[in-house]
Symmetry: C2
Subunit: 397 residues, 2 copies
């Protein structure tokens, strides 16, 4: 039985509290009778899903759009983040009059399984022990995230999504949605992603995990119980990852070799260069809003992701006779999920007899372009959804 | 007064001991009367330089080739490393009958200032305190490294180098040699390098430094005195850096998504993937042979490197009317020092009226290609030195 309610605003601003009692979110709770079957071969129960909705579900229940968030994203796609106080992470794209128009569509965004903003994850309280899960939490996959989202839709009484959209890890979920539940996805928008994580991407993730686990305050994953905080390790992980979200050209354009508040080098290990100062800020601000163990679990889920491997090694098998219409988007300067990965998706969809359009957007902003002000992306998303909406029989309000 | 001798082989295998008493190396010691003037505005004295030589200096003293090593390299370019027992790091290129032929040339390779294999650096004993320098060691630059090498040559009685060669940070030193001492360099071979470190490269270095400094066992840089060891932080730094030395394609070819000694994922944080296991090994083996503070100092030196900035912002000014003949080499898959950086060197040399040839070698091996089995590189180096040798009047032995 699901119970959806707006949680009370808590005074405690710790992200740990968000894990159990997320502020400004709806929460769906699933009891022991509704376990989440995990790829690891175990059942997770009880568990909860924290989510946000924007707009109104129409009478036909045909205008629901699911947004899937990226590695360090959350359900606050178009509303203020309760910890940082910052605007939603995709307000450029989602909102009234935006390409994903909340005046037309009923937008749902849920925190992923393994996350730390209210959906059950390693920083949530394990009902059986009364302690945070820590590393006792089972290792989850992208497919597990999608299965949990499907359970959320079941409980919201939404049989079929008009669209599912997301970038990066969110795009992986979009692809998994289309592969696992083709009848439930009318239109799919996977952006800046791939159907499997590359060796280089696994390598970068492993460095991040090792940075977290090298911090003595990680305490074997029991830092919440032991009162320690692996903030230094997590900050290093974030700094390294952040470089991969940008591009050589963007870093050169934004920072070059400019000094920070000085005209000459200090001959020290201070943050002489602006780019150093910027990265340090990225690291230190991240640890205020994110859980270190969630970082381990979600990077692991991305590393394990390999749709073809789940379908006899043939990617096209995953999308055989798919009824879904796809719009695949990549960015020229994205070296984490380069255009070649998106082309592989398109080729597989073609081979599977799918309906797909593809756009490569020219930008120097790197992988993070999907989160930034990219008018070409906005136009593509708007056009694709308009066209799909007509096919779906959605009437403009 | 310099004193060059082969140090006694020590029983202690700790790299710390190498810092003061390097095994299997020659050592040139410079007293208080011979300080090294540093860009930071201070004098370093006393100090010492550990070096190796191969081959024989001819009567005209005209066949000396200086090899400059990269960030984590050392003087053991073509002979067994005293700590790891592994072959010299450039034995593919340097040795009897090799492209840099020790039967023709007198090859010199010295550990850089700031290093940890016998040239004075942060792990060396500070004569004034009797303790390791630690962060009291002054921050050094690529130009400081070159000035120290010039002092070594003075004391060896070598006025002019037939050639100076190196890759990566070694290539930076080659360029600085040509800029600082044009009359002392007959031929220069800068490989896989640039005349200034890019914002992205500074960013990667900063992550590495933060990883080291985040390790509580770094102890504010006093780990040698306090008996701690920042091996975890340094290993994370090395893992991250190592990715940048390879390429997406090489990682895909070598590892792909292959599992390590298993056929299915373990749903854990073990090193399931071969690439994870490989990276962990890179990290743990590195810390056995390298000093954490040296890592900070040498990355900093690379970050500060900007030849144009030292010459009124105009790169060509650094090489005005240069008498040196250059051979610039880059690798197609090197994304740390991409070909565009080498082209900038070539354009500056052209503008300066220099004599330069340029080769971009096609390989998927990334930046590390300069250290690997690359027959095209070998042929280019051999051909360039043969031709320069004729111009220099070197007669084949």
């Amino acid at each position: 039985m699901v119970e959806a309610k707006v949680s009370a605003r808590l005074d405690a601003s710790s992200p740990v509290r968000e894990a159990d009692a997320p502020r400004d979110s709806l929460v769906a709770r699933f009891g022991p009778d509704k376990p989440l079957r995990l790829d690891a071969g175990v059942d997770l129960a009880p568990f909860q899903i924290a989510f946000k909705t924007y707009g109104t579900l129409n009478a036909a229940r045909s205008n629901a759009v699911l947004i899937c968030h990226a590695l360090t994203g959350d359900q606050h796609v178009a509303s203020v983040h309760p910890v940082t106080g910052k605007p939603g992470w995709w307000e450029t794209l989602v909102g009234p009059g935006r390409p994903i128009d909340t005046e037309r569509y009923f937008v749902i965004c849920s925190n992923v399984i393994g996350g730390c903003l209210g959906t059950t994850g390693p920083s949530s309280t394990n009902a059986q022990t009364g302690l945070p899960w820590g590393l006792e939490f089972p290792v989850i996959t992208i497919r597990d995230m999608v299965r949990a989202q499907a359970m959320l839709l079941d409980h919201l009484g939404i049989e079929s999504l008009f669209a599912v959209a997301g970038g990066s890890m969110g795009g992986m979920q979009v692809l998994e949605w289309a592969a696992s539940f083709p009848q439930r996805v009318f239109a799919a928008l996977p952006i800046a992603c791939s159907t499997r994580h590359s060796a280089q991407n696994i390598a970068f993730h492993e460095v991040g995990r090792q940075a977290v686990m090298a911090d003595p305050e990680w305490s074997g994953g029991r830092y919440l119980t032991e009162g320690t905080n692996p903030r230094r390790g997590l900050a290093v992980a974030r700094m390294g990852a952040h470089i991969t979200y940008l591009s050589d050209a963007a870093l050169h354009r934004k920072f070059g070799r400019k000094f920070q508040d000085r005209s000459n080098p200090t001959f020290s290990f201070d943050a002489d260069f602006e780019v150093e100062s910027y990265l340090r800020h990225q690291g230190s601000s991240f640890v205020e809003r994110f859980d270190a163990n969630s970082y381990l679990y979600l990077t692991r889920a991305m590393d394990y992701f390999d749709i073809a491997a789940d379908h006899q090694g043939v990617l096209a098998n995953a999308f055989k006779n798919t009824p879904t219409r796809f719009c695949v988007v990549s960015f020229t300067s994205d070296w984490l999920f380069p255009t070649s990965e998106s082309r592989a998706i398109v080729h597989a969809l073609n081979a599977a007899g799918g309906r797909v359009s593809f756009a490569e957007i020219k930008t120097d902003k790197g992988h993070d372009a999907f989160l930034l002000d990219e008018p070409e992306l906005f136009a593509i998303v708007r056009g694709f959804l308009d066209s799909a909406g007509k096919a779906r029989g959605l009437v403009r309000a």
